[in-house]
């Protein structure tokens, strides 16, 4: 690990000021990705601004019919929240499948979203549900948030304070895990919303993306049959040591099919493939 400054501000404003003035400072919310990357010298920051000292950002509540999750809410809080279970059970199930117990006990939704790991689970839920990210400056639609590999529309000094999820009619997440890292090789989030069906895929490309061909087909009929013969054209899919891009393309279709199956039959286990 390199030398760095460790700061633990008490307010969002204070954190924002440091981050806006120090271009090499990095916010940390849980640190489940940042700490290993720093230890392995994959990243080097002049300062780490730990948001763990900021109080009051971990609330989970319903507001005007939407589910609002504070940015500092840990995965364990989301998976065990009766509010989440009642509103969007698929989101609680997704949180239950993130990493391992240690990660779930420390990692936060805001940290995961801001980090925008190409294989992270939460981005699929945000994009699949059409969520809105609330920051200290503005509100950003999930459709506009994820811009590239570990890249988001967040600006310097901009800190996520909450994520607002509209409640779908039905939703489910299906994940194909990497055998070693347990990250998503492919994760597919399918949600039936007021505006139609949304399909978001993580793990398969540089960042989470929607699949319009599946959305159109499933908006006509949310059924496995609707998927037959639908072969979306994908952009650049990831190819790595575990799965070629051709195999990933196939697995996307299969995970979408499983998520649809789980939407229709919520008792079917869909989390692990």
């Amino acid at each position: 690990m390199y030398d760095f400054q460790y700061l633990r501000p008490a307010t969002v404003d204070e954190a924002s000021r440091v981050l806006a003035t120090q271009p090499d400072a990095r916010p940390m919310s849980g640190g489940m990705s940042l700490l290993p990357a720093t230890k392995q010298r994959l990243s080097h920051w002049s300062a780490i601004v730990d948001l763990g000292g900021v109080a009051g950002l971990d609330e989970i509540r319903m507001e005007h019919g939407a589910l609002v999750i504070g940015a500092r809410a840990r995965h364990v809080s989301v998976l065990s929240s009766s509010v989440v279970r009642a509103a969007i059970p698929a989101l609680a199930e997704l949180a239950e499948g993130i990493g391992d117990p240690l990660v779930r006990n420390r990692g936060t939704i805001g940290g995961s979203v801001a980090n925008a790991d190409p294989a992270a689970d939460y981005p699929a839920a945000l994009l699949g549900l059409g969520a809105t990210v609330v920051t200290n400056h503005r509100e950003i639609a999930a459709d506009d948030l994820f811009t590239g590999l570990f890249e988001t529309a967040l600006e310097a000094g901009e800190i996520i304070t909450a994520v607002r999820f509209p409640v779908p009619k039905r939703a489910a997440y299906a994940k194909y895990r990497h055998p070693a890292s347990r990250y998503a090789v492919v994760g597919a989030f399918v949600a039936e919303t007021a505006e139609g069906v949304r399909v978001a895929v993580t793990g398969a490309a540089s960042h989470v993306f929607r699949v319009p061909a599946f959305e159109t087909a499933l908006s006509k009929s949310l059924s496995q049959d609707a998927l037959v013969g639908v072969t979306p054209a994908y952009g650049d899919l990831n190819a790595d040591l575990f799965a070629s891009s051709e195999y990933r393309a196939h697995v996307i279709g299969e995970m979408v099919r499983r998520a649809v199956q789980a939407c229709l039959h919520p008792s079917t286990p869909s989390r692990n493939a």
Binding site: S181, L241, A243, Y247, H250, V251, E254
Partner: protein, 763 residues
């Protein structure tokens, strides 16, 4: 599970809990990793970034300037202590640090010594080396004819007679060409009803011991004390003494418990380097590898096996030709032994009149390969048991029935000419068939979930001839200590050896003190490898115990006891010396009979002291949508003679099977132009608790090794043999596709399914 006989004294045959169990689970067991000596320096290795090249320069100045760095050392610097610092069990080909050339990415080139391990690591990053790159060769078959030559000249160690003809050979990557010829294989092919020929590949993998390799050397008077996580303390002493030109008694090697070995910690690894460094700086030097550095240190051979069989219309195999190419990587380590000792079992446990085997050890520019639980056998079985199933299916024969027709039975000659005895090949086959309920109807699944089952059987010879020596000391109160150089690396050898001694002396196993390897104290043992300890050291311990017992009996008679009368040993000492004083020392030394194979034909009437027989049966499920595979049931069966400790034997069986299970389904060292691309446990998958089959059965087949100590023989590897082909055979059974390359990943299954589908579409 059969009830096993417990011997008269109640020790051998009893499931004694591991003697060291409490120490280990309470965190009190000593490991080399925990050892800190006053004034100790930490070493960190700087490694080659190219697969093959001449060293032009090594700039260590920036590293040496880091505060806390004691010294930076290159290969040339080592020559001040040892002029030719090359080591190895079969070839003296491996320099303690690279000299002149580097031969694989990750090869040690320089080393930083510092007060603190983190300072050493930081400084090692600052070393800069330049190279003139040379053509490299990575594939074992290409290495046969490649113009890229890994070693300019071959340097066999002279230890093994069958390597002598290689001395001074140039312009070749073949480190050993072993052959066996029996009968007339060409005639068998010419007259065969059917001829089958297939090629199988297995991948390079790593041992992944939980405790990475670690060695610590300290100057000790006019000698050297080496603390090391080694499976072969006696060999380390001999090899270090040879390098230094010292008598053996100036080198002392101590080995505590090991956190796993599996062949990774055999012969000599880090010891030569720390020994030379300690003498150079006159301080203790410790080198602890990281988990990742082990990928560059020792691995399991990748292998290509071409197998061709002549088969009669009734399904009898009448001839078999085996060509086996072993990818030994940049240094021979024990690879040439793998090539020969495993090579002669390449045709499998089958009764075949005409056999031809060519087995080649090859140098390549990959990390070195050596022994790994099974010593080459799993690579061979992967081929011959897949091949068996392919033949049976083609002939429309049941796979079990096909094997019944062909297995080697009691008294029949093996390919070498050695007659088979105490080898329950049939017992293992039938046990698996019985536990699989083979003749009953089988649920083949539905929808996109398909089910299948497969079996495989195999055998292994014991490495021979090798020696074990044991010393038993009886104290004046009658208690016993056992000094042996067998290393307990988790296999529970302390417990098994204590059981044997306790049985002979009529003591309780729990009361025996087993003294851990310390070459100043514990006598010679060839090494803890190849499932040899139970048989070889077991005999030595038995003999030592009997020697002590005889002396006690004689003492009793000399003190006036009637011959055969009962006595308490403590009374004898008291009577003889007038107080609690004195010792009785029993010594046992064991080497089995053996006939070296004839040079051209490979034939021998006594090729092994015992055979290890193992077999596997699996039931699996494939999701045809993704190629995902689940092993639902894993059945292991082995002939290990009579079990000394049934409970520990069962864990040996399940442990061995699960290790090979990882090599079958997950593990694979991936290379890009010699660069390892998945050298971390975040990418390189080893099996965890969530990955193992829900049902695992371990069966000890009813057998007795008539030449073994209390009827026993080794078992550490037997359950590795059959796992890979059993699973591939089950995949074929489930979905009709045949995989011939390991590992069997979901994507490879999926691709095979898709290829089969498109083939069917065309037809």
């Amino acid at each position: 599970m059969k009830h096993h006989d417990i011997m008269p004294a109640g020790q051998v045959g009893r499931s004694v809990p591991r003697l060291e169990g409490r120490q280990k689970v309470t965190g009190r067991a000593a490991y080399t990793h925990n050892l800190v000596l006053p004034g100790m320096l930490h070493a960190k290795v700087f490694r080659s970034t190219i697969p093959h090249g001449r060293i032009l320069s090594i700039d260590t100045s920036a590293a040496a300037a880091v505060e806390g760095v004691h010294r930076v050392v290159t290969g040339e610097d080592l020559r001040a202590i040892v002029a030719e610092p090359y080591f190895g069990p079969a070839f003296h080909d491996q320099p303690a640090l690279a000299l002149d050339k580097v031969r694989h990415i990750g090869e040690p080139v320089a080393v930083v010594l510092a007060e603190d391990p983190y300072i050493a690591a930081e400084a090692a990053r600052l070393i800069v080396a330049t190279y003139e790159e040379l053509d490299a060769v990575f594939d074992e078959v290409e290495a046969m004819t490649s113009s890229a030559i890994v070693h300019d000249v071959l340097k066999p160690a002279g230890t093994f007679p069958d390597l002598k003809h290689l001395v001074g050979k140039r312009d070749t990557n073949i480190a050993l060409d072993y052959q066996l010829r029996r009968g007339d294989v060409d005639a068998a092919f010419a007259s065969a009803d059917h001829v089958y020929e297939h090629e199988f590949k297995s991948q390079q993998v790593m041992h992944t011991p939980l405790e990475p390799m670690v060695s610590l050397a300290a100057p000790d008077g006019d000698g050297l004390l080496i603390h090391t996580a080694s499976q072969s303390p006696s060999f380390v002493r001999i090899e270090i003494a040879r390098l230094l030109g010292w008598p053996e008694n100036r080198v002392r090697v101590k080995v505590p418990y090991l956190g796993g070995g599996f062949g990774a910690k055999l012969y000599i690894k880090l010891e030569a380097l720390v020994a030379i460094l300690a003498l150079m700086v006159k301080r203790p030097v410790k080198l602890s590898l990281t988990m990742e550095e082990q990928f560059f240190t020792i691995t399991k051979h990748a292998c290509t096996f071409r197998i061709k069989s002549a088969v009669s219309s009734e399904g009898r195999v009448t001839g078999r030709r085996c060509e086996v190419y072993w990818n030994g990587g940049a240094y021979a380590d024990i690879g040439p032994r793998v090539t020969q000792k495993s090579g002669f079992t390449a045709p499998g446990p089958y009764d075949i009149e005409n056999v031809s085997i060519d087995s080649y050890a090859l140098y390549t520019n990959r990390p070195p390969a050596g022994a790994l639980r099974g010593f080459g056998i799993p690579q061979l079985v992967w081929a011959y048991e897949s091949h068996s199933d392919m033949i049976a299916r083609d002939l429309g024969l049941d796979p079990v029935e096909f094997r019944r027709k062909n297995i080697l039975r009691e008294g029949r000659p093996h390919a070498t000419g050695t007659l088979m005895h105490d080898a329950e090949i049939e017992g293992v086959l039938e046990k698996i068939a019985e536990r699989m309920n083979w003749s009953a109807p089988f649920d083949r699944g539905e929808g996109h979930i398909k089910r299948g089952r497969g079996i495989a059987i195999a055998f292994k010879a014991s490495i021979s001839p090798t020696t074990s020596v044991a010393i038993v000391t009886i104290a004046a109160d009658g208690c016993a200590s056992l000094a042996i150089s067998t290393v307990d690396m988790g296999q529970a050898s302390d417990t098994a050896m204590a059981q044997i001694l306790a049985e002979v002396l009529g003591l309780a196993t729990e009361d025996i003190k087993v003294i851990h390897p310390d070459t100043d104290v514990t006598p010679y043992d060839m090494a803890t490898l190849g499932s040899r300890s139970t048989f070889h050291m077991g005999h030595a311990v038995r003999l030592a115990g009997e020697h002590a017992r005889r002396q006690l009996d004689e003492l009793a008679v000399s003190l006036g006891y009637a011959p055969g009368a009962a006595y308490a040993p403590r009374d004898l000492f008291k009577k003889k010396y007038g107080m609690q004083a004195g010792n009785i020392v029993g010594v046992g030394s064991y080497i089995p009979d053996y006939t070296s194979p004839a040079p051209k034909t490979g034939l021998s009437d006594n090729i092994t002291p015992f055979w290890m027989i193992g077999g596997t049966g699996v039931e699996i499920e494939i999701d045809t949508q993704t190629g995902a595979i689940k092993v639902l049931k894993l059945i292991n069966a082995a002939d290990l003679g009579l079990p000394l400790n049934p409970k520990i034997v069962e864990t040996q069986l399940s442990g061995a099977a699960l290790m090979q299970y990882g090599f079958t389904l997950f593990e694979n060292m991936l290379f890009d132009e010699g660069q390892l691309t998945n050298g971390s446990l975040a990418d390189y998958k080893i099996p965890g608790l969530n990955d193992i089959p829900p049902v695992i059965e371990n069966h000890i087949v009813d057998a007795r090794q008539t030449t073994g100590p209390f009827g026993a023989k080794g078992v550490g590897e037997s359950a590795t043999f059959g796992v890979s082909p059993a699973i591939a055979n089950a995949i074929h059974d489930a979905v009709g596709v045949r995989l011939t390359e390991l590992p069997l990943t979901p994507e490879s299954i999926f691709n095979a399914l898709r290829a089969a589908k498109s083939q069917a579409g065309k037809a």
